[in-house]
Symmetry: C2
Subunit: 146 residues, 2 copies
DNA sequence: ATTAACTGTAATTAATAAAGTTACAGTTAA
DNA sequence: TTAACTGTAACTTTATTAATTACAGTTAAT
C-alpha cells in the first residue's frame, strides 16, 4: 500500500480555498496545486463537506470554507480524513493461548491510545489560520531573497 | 500495503523473551506466540540486536535482553523498528510554483514534527517493565475469573 | 566426524490499501 | 441546447508490507 496523503492533501485543499478565494476554484485548479487529478480532489472535498468543513454546490464552482480558518484545527481535519484510525498498529493476530499473545493487544492498545491522544492534542493547538499565515510568511521570505 | 506490525511485534518479542526467559526460546517458539513465521521473528530480532536491545548467538538458542526491562522504553523500541519515519505523511509531490504547494510541505512538516514529538514523549514514559507487569496483572485477572 | 537444529539473511511472492483512471449521472451556467 | 462543472462508483495501478522459499554459516548432540 502506498502511504496515505489524504490528511495532508485535505489541509492543502482547505488552505488553497482560503488563500485563493478570489479566483475561480474548480477542482481542476485545486488539483494542479496538489498535483493530483480533479476526481481525487472531489473525493476529498466530499469527505470535508460531510464533516462540515466546507460547503460546495453541485454543478457550480463555488467551494467555500464552512468555518473561519481560525475555527478549524488540524485535528478537525484529521478526524475528517482519518476518523478513529490508530496511529500505531497493533498486531491483531497473536496467540490468545499465550500470556503475552493473549494480553498484549489490550495492554499495548492502552499505551498507544495515550500516545495518540498526546499527538492529537498538539494537532488541536494549530488552526488552519496559523498554517495559512505561516505559508504566507514563508512565501514572502522567498520573494524577498529574489 | 498491509499495515506494519513491526513495532508491536517487536515489543511482543521483547516481552516474551523476558516473561519466558526460563524456557528454550527458539525463534520458532517466539513465532508461535506472535503468530508469524520464524524468519520474520529472526528478521525483527536482527533489528533489535543492531539497536542494542537484545543479544543473540548464531546457531544457538539463547536470546537475551541486552538491558533490564525497566531500562527499555517503548520509544527505544520505536526508534529501532521505525527509525525517523514520519507519523503523519506529507505529500511530497505538490506544485512548487504555487504559494500553497510550494510552502505547505515545509510548514506542515514542522507542525507534524511537533505532534510526533508529543507522541514520542508519551512512548518514552512507558518501559517494557511497565508493560510486562500490566500483562501479568491482566493474566492473573483472567485466571481468577475461571 | 557427521548430522540435526539452529541463527541469519537475501530473494521472491502474495496481500493490502492507497492513489490514479475511466465512466457516467446530475446540476448549473452560458 | 450544450459545455462545463460537481459527485460518485467501478476498475486498475502502485507502493509497501508480511509471508515464503532458499541457503550459508554456526552450534550442539551423537
Amino acid at each position: 500500500m502506498r502511504v496515505s496523503t489524504r490528511f495532508s492533501d485535505s489541509i492543502h485543499i482547505l488552505a488553497f480555498i482560503e488563500i485563493y478565494k478570489n479566483i475561480r476554484l474548480s477542482s481542476e485548479v485545486i488539483a494542479s496545486s496538489v498535483e493530483t487529478s480533479p476526481v481525487v480532489v472531489r473525493r476529498l472535498m466530499s469527505v470535508l463537506r460531510e464533516h462540515g468543513l466546507i460547503d460546495t454546490k453541485q454543478g457550480s464552482v463555488e467551494p467555500k470554507l464552512a468555518r473561519k480558518p481560525k475555527d478549524i484545527t488540524l485535528l478537525d481535519i484529521y478526524f475528517a480524513t482519518e476518523g478513529n484510525k490508530p496511529l500505531f498498529e497493533l498486531d491483531k493476530k497473536t496467540n490468545p493461548e499465550c500470556i503475552v499473545g493473549g494480553n498484549i493487544q489490550e495492554v499495548l492498545g492502552d499505551y498507544y491510545e495515550q500516545a495518540k491522544i498526546a499527538a492529537q492534542r498538539k494537532l488541536n493547538d494549530t488552526t488552519l489560520q496559523d498554517l495559512i499565515e505561516t505559508i504566507l510568511v514563508k512565501e514572502k521570505a522567498k520573494q524577498s531573497t529574489k
